[in-house]
Symmetry: D2
């Protein structure tokens, strides 16, 4: 008996990644893929790499005969959708927008869906707010320190994202002629993901109130986020390595590499990789994820697996692109 | 009872892709991964994207307790390896080099491993010579015409390959500073894959003796081959569409798109996509594959699936990179 | 006494390249840069690489006190502009659109501005229709053969263009997430530049009526066109090399390389490079240009230099990007 | 009467850029281009974009009939070269290696060749040590603060370099298949350029002893460095803008943009662009240069212009690649 999944906003980038994963997920049946703009069109007309893999079409109507609903819509639109379309309480919801990530915005029944932070709560949740991509990448770098109350000084974060982080809407900063071989900073010190990162750190360390300095950058690649993160630490290199290895033991997608890492080690996978060094009085962490997978749709399926009692890696043993 | 697979030359690009596929293949157990240069090292030290996925190490010795042996070695080295290391007749062999592709170079027991041409022969083969990447892409564009004896005039082929086609050895033409944003022609009219293409066309059409004009190009991307192919044809656009659709019916990885196609539709998959147009008296075909998958390791696993009676797509329902 | 130049359509890609050249041209003074959409804005707000180099602003009005007018507008808009804005006969006009390239569309006073074909006529022209980018690249490959009446069989052309060839308007095929690491064919056999190429070949060889088969491709780089061209020829490799070297002797921007060439040799220059080989009964030519320079604004300035009796390379001794 | 220039190490990347600039420099004549590995070869056989622009050949011997000598050799080799080849005192020397940048390594007659720091000293110098690429980019971001004694707290620097920064030698980290669409950190907190940056800051502010935290990154583009830099500051946004604008007034290549900047604004130019923001108690500076020009050969020619009393921009009014 397969899990019946519905997808809202199936024509966007996160919707497409959801489909690429779910068409091969052994325990899931795609019940419908909703799109306002593409009703009636073949899914493979929009996500053209799925040509030959599925004959599904986008629908303009919803079906109540589902077990889980993925909201792959823009920020603000998830809340509007749920207000306009009451969903039966028996249906679990996973929202990929930012609408329910912050406690101030979400009823208590919403769980922040970062398994490395909230795995047990996710297992029993009905509603999961899937974390942001930058937020996931940066939190993976900081959780082990926060869990031990070791985040005392200012934190310095520089993270570069691939172009798919900006979605499929056309914009000057995603024009190929501009972005190719280019690099730029945006929203320095003011990226909206700082809020959800802060809430998670407080969850682990009630007294956390350090400054997070975050410089986001637009990279000239399509997939992935690399964050470089440092702060003061009294621990030795060995203690830090042990701290991180210990924290992530048993987390099937997140691993700590003793060797230096590079972004393409995780592209097209649901993995997070970390590398920890000590320099002077600073702990330095490099963290990498695929922004569309561990940073969005892959993590959403990971959350679904947890919510339905499936093995966490089901459907997510993805072949890395590697090159 | 899983198929036990051995890999020779596991540290190269095709060896790496083989491992990325086989670690997730439900019917295969990797018995050993041989490498002269990396004996004793972790596989994930070389193929770093596999960090967290496998603890296997390269071996310097062979085991006879296998069902299938993949030769992922350079051209010329497969023949040398088999001469120096007699393999028990019960073990099936799939060679990814060019050593056994041409009839003049191979004993009769070798089958040319292009399922779209030789599926039935592959099912019963003990030894399969896996086709070249350009050769696969170009043959997919020509087989339907050859099968009907319709290749009468000169054939005009331009095909651009990603950098992984040149393997991992360092070279001036694979230096990032040179290749990025660059394009160049090489081996015009003289690429070695013309020979295996010619043999396949003769197999389908004993009278085939047309000239194949082939311009290979080095593209500034990592994965994939796009071939544009045309020749004279009396058929109408509809007849051509029918001819191609009919030929590829039942071929699970190769599909004919009525819409124009672009390379990334197949990147990181084992698929071949074709698009056929008629212009004046010419049939024009665009053919795309991932050079490391349908053009190498993916097709090798497809062949293994056929040789062992498995479902052809097993282990090969790969998530496209898409971006 | 400097030449006073006006630019219409200064906010687009060819307008920007015109400005990048003219701000350093020793014999030119930029009189005005017209833009409907950017009147009053700093030029460096649009062409941001010019920040620090010029304080000019776009104007919404024209000045008659100029010696030359460059039309850097879209196809169709040059004709409309000249109909709506009568230009004094004393002002020379160089149009970068396709509006006046074909004899059927242009009064006799318009000269097709390919110096390698029409240098002497350009010197005395008042109105020059600047060639298309593909058209320039392909004609450079064919002119020496046509000049000797040696284009007898079908001609086979495959040419890949950088993304700037599509201008700055946002489109799905110029979205970074789509185009990066991608390749695709468009307008196969039907590109509009075939017409102007055909007219030039007839100009050199009145009896020319061969078929030009032209496959244009969209490359994943920003600048440049590489065309690979072949046709039947009775000449030997040496005779061909001599023919091309002889034809281009004295052409300061177009050179014949005895060695293989790659696209980045000409990127950010006004040069055209050619490489000629003989294979069987075919002559094979690789031709490369920068689509925005020799294929557009650079050639326009080259034409201006000729029209005003300046040294042809003035302002065009551009440093190659090289990498 | 032109300045006669000799180049040692002309076959490398900085040697090539030197040649691309000097072949068009109105006041310079290239006397010889020395290369151990390429003696007798055409310069355009190595720097193939110069084909058609120069018929010069590499020499294996030196000529004393020069006015200036550029050392474009590897780190350590400049010192060795000068020890083995005594240069007449009348000949000025500009060294692009790191051999003479630090006071501890250089006799007093060597001047650190950053015009934005030492313009007047450079004008009268006989020997100039050209700054490192990262060092140039980062110093441009910090000099105005240091000049006023305002660098009091720790400084946080993240800078990403293009692949040409690693030169033309083949390496795993410059292999196209690896580097394309990739990003990685290296030498975190330990890059050798920290030393020369520190000396400059002490020169401006004798009391400077803040910690410089520097994370270098390898980008997947060929040219350019973008540094994001921040530290504590009591100044307001307006005061900071004024401070930077005032410091760089009269510096012809370095400009402060009120708008956000992106790397390609300076690619293929000798410019440095800066953008300054205030966030909370931090001043945030983005600094961009082309690593091969303002970060190497362009700055070397700028220094030459100063040393010989030429206009500073001579030969350096380079057309930006822009795309």
């Amino acid at each position: 008996m397969k899990i019946k999944a519905g997808i809202i906003g199936g024509a966007g980038y996160t919707g497409g990644e959801m489909l690429r994963i779910l068409v091969n997920h052994p325990s899931v049946e795609i019940a419908f893929v909703h799109s306002n703009s593409n009703e009636g069109n073949l899914i493979s007309d929009v996500h053209t790499d799925l040509f030959g893999d599925t004959d599904l079409r986008f629908t303009g109507t919803l079906s109540a005969d589902i077990d889980v609903l993925f909201l792959c819509v823009g920020h603000g639109d998830a809340k509007k959708f749920l207000a306009a379309n009451p969903i039966a309480p028996s249906i679990k919801i996973i929202d990929l927008s930012q609408d329910f990530r912050l406690k101030a915005n979400a009823a208590d029944q919403w769980v922040y869906g970062l398994p490395e932070l909230n795995r047990e709560a996710i297992r029993t949740a009905n509603y999961v707010a899937n974390p942001g991509c930058f937020a996931t990448c940066i939190q993976l770098a900081l959780l082990p320190l926060a869990a031990k109350g070791l985040l005392k000084g200012e934190v310095h974060i520089n993270a570069t994202t691939g172009s798919t982080g900006a979605g499929q809407s056309l914009a000057a900063t995603s024009h190929f002629s501009w972005r190719n071989n280019n690099l730029s900073v945006y929203k320095a010190f003011e990226h909206q993901h700082l809020n959800e990162i802060g809430e998670s750190l407080v969850q682990l360390d009630g007294g956390f109130d350090s400054v997070l300095n975050f410089i986001p950058q637009r990279g000239d690649f399509t997939r992935g986020i690399l964050a470089s993160v440092y702060t003061e630490s009294d621990l030795s290199a060995e203690e830090l390595q042990d701290l991180y290895a210990s924290y992530y033991e048993g987390h099937v997608f997140t691993h700590v590499s003793a060797k230096n890492i590079d972004l393409k080690q995780v592209v097209n996978t649901n993995k997070g990789l970390l590398h920890v060094e000590k320099h002077g009085n600073k702990v330095f962490v490099v963290s990498i994820i695929d922004n569309l997978l561990k940073g969005a749709s892959g993590q959403a399926v990971q959350n679904m697996n947890l919510m339905f009692g499936l093995e966490e890696r089901q459907g997510l043993a993805l072949k890395a692109a590697a090159f």
